[in-house]
Amino acid sequence: MIQQLNFGDLLPYWDVFARGLVFTIVLTLTSTVAGLALGTAGAWARTFGPKWAGAVTRVYVEIIRNTPFIVQLFFIFFGLPALGVKLSEDVAAFIAMVINLGAYSTEIIRAGIEAVPKGHLEAGASLAMSRWEIFRHIVLKPALMKVYPALSSQIVIVMLGSAVVSQISAEDLTYAANYIQSRNFRAFEVYIVAAFLYLLLAIGLRALLRGIGRAMFPKG
């Protein structure tokens, strides 16, 4: 038996959707910036850093890439308080996202670094540049440029994956949808709208990333 569709029942909750949407956008943008910074540091550690830092990074990357995101999130939010670390839902969600993106982007950026021709490193060394200066001025930008498409995809994946943070009651877009359908029981309409909003977000995010890519790498 098919009920009649009624999107009108959603209208009174438009502000709940709006708040959830804003939360998801802010969470995605902040955790992307921090996650890429972490990933860059991790990629540095694995290629140019001291041995111990590379080893530590490797363990971190393997743990994160081989466990479910929701378990990582639950561990940070429900598990860490046992160690006396109590975090708000928002902060726990942010940290989980950063740690997750950090691990994946470490591997992506590392691939870019390893694709930089050895001759460029030798040219830098021959110009009396230090290892750090070579990384900073010769390696990093071409490496990021090479893997930028892969990084962009990973960022979109992380944005979509952020729906999971609703499970610790962080008030994101999915949390808003759950909340609304628990009030008006219009599950079909609510999740259609939520899906549509995620779709718009993903399209918008890809466009934003393309624009940033064009601005950062005019030669790419």
């Binding site: 001759g119 030798e122 040219a123 830098g124 021959s126 110009l127 009396a128 010769i138």
Partner: protein
Amino acid sequence: MSLVSIRDVRKSYGAQEVLKGVSLDVGRGDVVAIIGRSGSGKSTLLRCINGLETYQAGAITVDGMAVGDGKTDLRTLRRHVGMVFQQFNLFPHLTAGENIMLAPTVVVKEQKGEARAMAEALLEKVGLAGKFDSYPSQLSGGQQQRVAIARSLAMRPTVLLCDEITSALDPELVNEVLKVVEQLASEGMTLILVTHEMRFAREVGTKLVFMHQGRVHEEGPPKALFANPATPELAQFVGHQN
């Protein structure tokens, strides 16, 4: 006192000995052309001089600085020893001018303005005035190699190492690069070149070094050596080349 002194240098990759006791002296203002078959150790020797390769025995000094003894800071050494590579190795994300300015601003901490003025002067010197804002991908091989030479010169090296710098170029682009090197030689720059350009070695070189199986097989004034090779190996080598 020679500027670059190489004494009985030995180097192996595993069981393969590639330098079997090489000695060589290079004076200030010398233009040394190192020739020889591939695998004779020419490039390895050159790369030992600025510490890109390590060696197991012997000694190399440049301007009194010991190379590869673990005490001399390689960065200090490399400020005095420039190197130009077969594959140009320009940094693709930087323009020609930025390639030249990078080391002076990052390593020497020169002001941007000064570095820029010097980069422009150097580009003019290598015949590329007006290419400051071109990216390497927009330049021909010969132009890229001239930018690479200018980039090395920006550190004001005492000696410039050139590792087969025309070998990756189309034949018609070789001369524009050699002309720049010849100009440097005439200005008194100390040059050590690994090269396959025999005519250039003969005309511009002040000393010819023929390497064979990891040793200096023969050395001397280029014209004399080309005219009267003392060993059958060099005779055969130049015979093949000419």
